[in-house]
Symmetry: C2
Subunit: 207 residues, 2 copies
């Protein structure tokens, strides 16, 4: 099992590898990757050891092979269809974001409980009634659900997703979700991020 | 200096303390907090030891005092004004989000380079030309800048912010920012989060 800290750094390696490709390079050393990502060299070598690509002495990693190996490791070379529930401010911003589909995630349907939104199309994605999620998800074998409803509705929506056969939930609400142990939950917690920003600023001011 | 991992858990303690207050409790034990947050008891005690509130044997922590101490520790009891640059899909969602102002962060002005947006008001916040940021920020002593522009524009916007006297940047773009060492940068990296979700789902499918 690949450590979470390694997984979180891999997209940054992909980003610099793309920049090197655009600059016409074919190979790159761990040192050079380290300089561009600010991660220590030994960390870079350790992270990249999870791919099957060797770091050849004198020349380094083959850039094309390494990028492909990282994408496969993240399963970003396959496209998974996902459902998004909660087509409000944040939900519609996510629906409009093209970058996810380049990273293996396509939002194919969305759901809401607001009659004014049901039946509309937001950024090319149809909005259905949340009551339809179970029947639609099971039919299309959807594995990933994205939650952008108000926190007090999040647990109910998670239950509906699990009941529909969804196996992984990307939770953008601050609500902690309780799901069976075999269901994957990944949280985007902006309050945690704000806590770090505010405290570090206060520490600096105090100096 | 409080560890980043502790800072990221403190908002969840605040959340459960609010729930306990609504339920009419006056004191709470580390064990009870542990059950509601799923963090191990020893971790809870360690995290809360950074506040000056004692865990009294038999009765536990005073809920009101503990919540106030955590808010002060995060500097969420003070309100900092901030500037947001990039009033697109994500930027406007953040402008519409009331929860930040309850956590010490108020967005007072926003900026963009799109003539169609300059001069408008989005969720009550005026949109100015990005060229005005330096003169406005210095006048109002703004310390926090939020970046929601496309990645290729992010570094330039960061430079403008630093030049305007902004001391902490909340970066929502996938672009790594290079700033002087005394400037705080906190990243919200949705690709890192997606990497964890996709890989864990692929691992589960492989079982
Ligand atoms: N807007 C942001 O910038 C931001 C930032 C961080 C976190 N969040 C979190 O994201 C979530 C959404 O925030 P928002 O600002 O987009 O809110 P919003 O009110 O704009 O959108 C919520 C949407 O969910 C729908 N909804 C409500 N209950 C539902 C239910 N039971 N089933 C289906 N749909 C339902 C509403 O009709 C609405 O369209 C919240 O949990 C919020 O805390 C938002
Ligand atoms: N939309 C999402 O859900 C989402 C998710 C994750 C990350 N992001 C990141 O957030 C950022 C914004 O994404 P978005 O979807 O809102 O894009 P968007 O195109 O909707 O918005 C970008 C805004 O920035 C403005 N802008 C462009 N260059 C500028 C400059 N030099 N100075 C000032 N303003 C400028 C544009 O006029 C536009 O209003 C991007 O970096 C994106 O990668 C977005």
């Amino acid at each position: 099992r690949i450590p979470t800290s390694t997984l979180k750094r891999l997209p940054q390696y992909l980003e610099v590898l793309k920049q090197f490709t655009r600059a016409g390079l074919r190979e790159v050393s761990a040192t050079k990757i380290s300089v561009f990502t600010d991660f220590h060299q030994t960390l870079v070598r350790k992270d990249l050891s999870y791919t099957s690509i060797n770091n050849v002495p004198q020349s380094g990693y083959n850039i094309k092979q390494l990028a492909k190996a990282i994408e496969e490791l993240l399963n970003w070379s396959d496209t998974s269809s996902s459902y998004l529930v909660g087509v409000g401010h944040l939900g519609s911003a996510l629906l409009g974001y093209q970058e996810f589909s380049l990273r293996g995630l396509t939002i194919v349907d969305s759901f809401d409980n607001d009659p004014a939104k049901i039946g509309t199309i937001v950024h090319g994605v149809p909005v259905h009634s949340v009551l339809e999620i179970t029947s639609l998800a099971a039919k299309k074998h959807i594995k990933i659900g994205i939650i952008t409803v108000p926190p007090e509705a999040a647990q109910l929506v998670a239950d509906l997703m699990v009941h529909s056969g969804i196996k992984a939930i990307w939770n953008f609400t601050p609500q902690k979700l309780h799901v069976p142990t075999d269901i994957i939950v990944e949280n985007v917690d902006m309050f945690a991020s704000l806590a770090v920003l505010s405290r570090r600023l206060a520490e600096k001011d105090a100096q």
